[in-house]
Amino acid sequence: MAEPVLSIRDLRKTFGALKATDGVSIDLMPGEIHALIGPNGAGKSTLIHQIAGSIRPDSGSIRFLGQDVGALGVAGRARMGLGRSFQISSLALEFSALRNVMLAVQSRQGSSFRFLKDVLRDRSLTEPAMAALERAGVAARAHVPAAELSHGERRQLEIAIALALGPKAFLLDEPMAGMGPEGSRTLTGFLDGLRQEAPILLVEHDMDAVFALADRISVLVYGRIIASGTVDEIRSHPEVRRAYLGEAA
């Protein structure tokens, strides 16, 4: 069997008496979409933050591309190839869509301590950024400030930024959130193809999308993975039905 791209072992994080992450282990294999589902307050966001590097776990290990990334911060992990999209769009709002993506291209190309060349005239930045916008379907809005984009367009821009990083794994936190049915369907189709490029750890509330996309699903409840398996296994898992699907489906 191939090596996992992302391997999380026995991760623990408590806030006071609350065990937000209680011994979580997850693997992300090459070419797969691994969905992480769970009710509100299950600790999905805390887990994502720990993987991305913005929250430090109390114990446990996170290995990415075979390397322990525990000592790396957010920027270091992103440079290694962890492409992240945020649950709530997080963009440089004064910048145009294009310039938001150009930041990712700039990071991928190396040091930002370059002081002379005008970025807007640097085709090594603008062209890959434009290509990423095209793939995400927002190229027509490239020169519009992010603040003036619609909610759905901002979600697409988030995806374009993640694409431009040329990541080795995607960490997508509710990419469908707030999108209409049409937008969700388009994005589902898009993510379906994306797994060939890099595996996706997908946190998502849209169960139609999860069941359509996921190769494997892990169910997080009260900071623990209570079940992990294929779509069918999860659908028929009694504990999952009781804890989660019973109230959602």
Binding site: A78, S90, F95, S96, L98, N100, S111, S112, R114, L125
Partner: protein
């Protein structure tokens, strides 16, 4: 050419024409006034890099302004008195040459900014403002209590520093030097802003989380901006000392830090020509209103209030409209 560029070029043209006309009319005082505008604008260009582009509200930039001033004063006084500043490992007599003084002013300000920024930038918001203020106050009180260089009485510069090929005692020559350096600083600001470094710095102000998520750590970018910013303000301090032929702890005071922030806000935060507009406006207000009433700062306060409430983009913002980042 954008409207903002046109307005900016008009402003620097006016700033250049003003002392030339004053000189032709035989009114040297107005040349000094224009020189003051240019020097304060230069100091504010420095602050604008940190405050305007990086969103780093430094309430301690007087420290760098004053350090630049003291570097000029100390180097000059040693050169004048023929006393070495230090004699081991080699003898250093100070200097009365402007380029040498500038080099030291820039280096010493940058060196001071490095630890100050490294510590202050671990905080943000009000804490950042307070820590930068605290650092500047430390240096202020140090200067006050350092009798070797005048303490609270300050340090006079008996003979203005020299510049090769120019007579710096001539007010117009001194203006030309200050104006030239201001133009260089504006060019540096514009190039930095449009570079990759500038893109990262602008993004760090808008959304540091996003910047980190694409793999660019905000801290080193901010620290570099803070140091470059301090170096430019320090250079202005050296010129200010030469202009007044006097350095005193007041250059290091928190009022001076506040004045620099006021210049940037008046002109337009983050705008290339904002500091030029701000300094011209500020010096004009000071001169015109100051001639009418002792309480001119009250009216300055009113104007500032108006700008903050109704014209967030400052003078440049009012005239040129909102910023568009490509």
């Amino acid at each position: 050419m954008t409207r903002e560029t046109a307005i900016g070029l008009f402003l620097v043209a006016v700033l250049l024409a003003f002392p030339l006309v004053a000189s032709a009319l035989g009114e040297p005082f107005y040349i000094t006034l224009a020189t003051r505008m240019a020097v304060l604008a230069l100091a504010a260009v420095g602050l604008n890099l940190a405050l305007g582009l990086g969103g780093l509200v430094s309430f301690g930039h007087a420290a760098f302004f004053g350090i630049g001033g003291y570097v000029a004063g100390i180097l000059t006084s040693h050169a004048f008195n023929q006393e070495p500043i230090f004699s081991a490992p080699f003898e250093f007599m100070g200097s009365d040459q402007m380029p040498v003084v500038w080099l030291f002013a820039v280096l010493v300000s940058a060196l001071a900014a490095l630890p100050m920024g490294a510590i202050s930038l671990r905080t943000s918001g009000v804490y950042f403002i307070m820590i930068t203020l605290a650092f500047a106050q430390m240096i202020y009180y140090f200067a006050m209590s350092w009798p070797a260089y005048g303490g609270e009485d300050g340090l006079p510069i008996l003979s203005r520093n020299a510049f090769p090929g120019l007579n710096t005692a001539n007010p117009l020559s001194l203006f030309a030097i200050c104006y030239g350096l201001l133009m260089v600083a504006l060019l540096v600001f514009a190039v930095l802003r449009d570079s990759r470094f500038g893109a990262a710095l602008l993004a760090s102000r808008q959304n540091a989380t996003r910047l980190a998520a694409v793999g660019i750590a905000p801290f080193p970018i901010r620290l570099a901006a803070f140091v470059i910013s301090a170096a430019i303000t320090g250079l202005a301090g050296a010129l200010y000392a030469d202009l007044n032929r006097f350095v005193s702890p007041s250059m290091l005071s928190w009022q001076m830090s506040g004045e620099l922030i006021v210049l940037v806000i008046l002109g337009g935060t983050g705008r290339l020509f904002g500091p030029v507009a701000g300094a011209m406006l500020f010096v004009m207000i000071e001169f015109v209103l100051g001639g009418i009433t002792e309480q001119w700062q009250f009216f300055l306060g009113l104007i500032l209030l108006g700008v903050v409430l109704f014209a967030r983009g400052g003078l440049v913002g009012v005239l040129a409209g909102k910023v568009r980042h490509g």
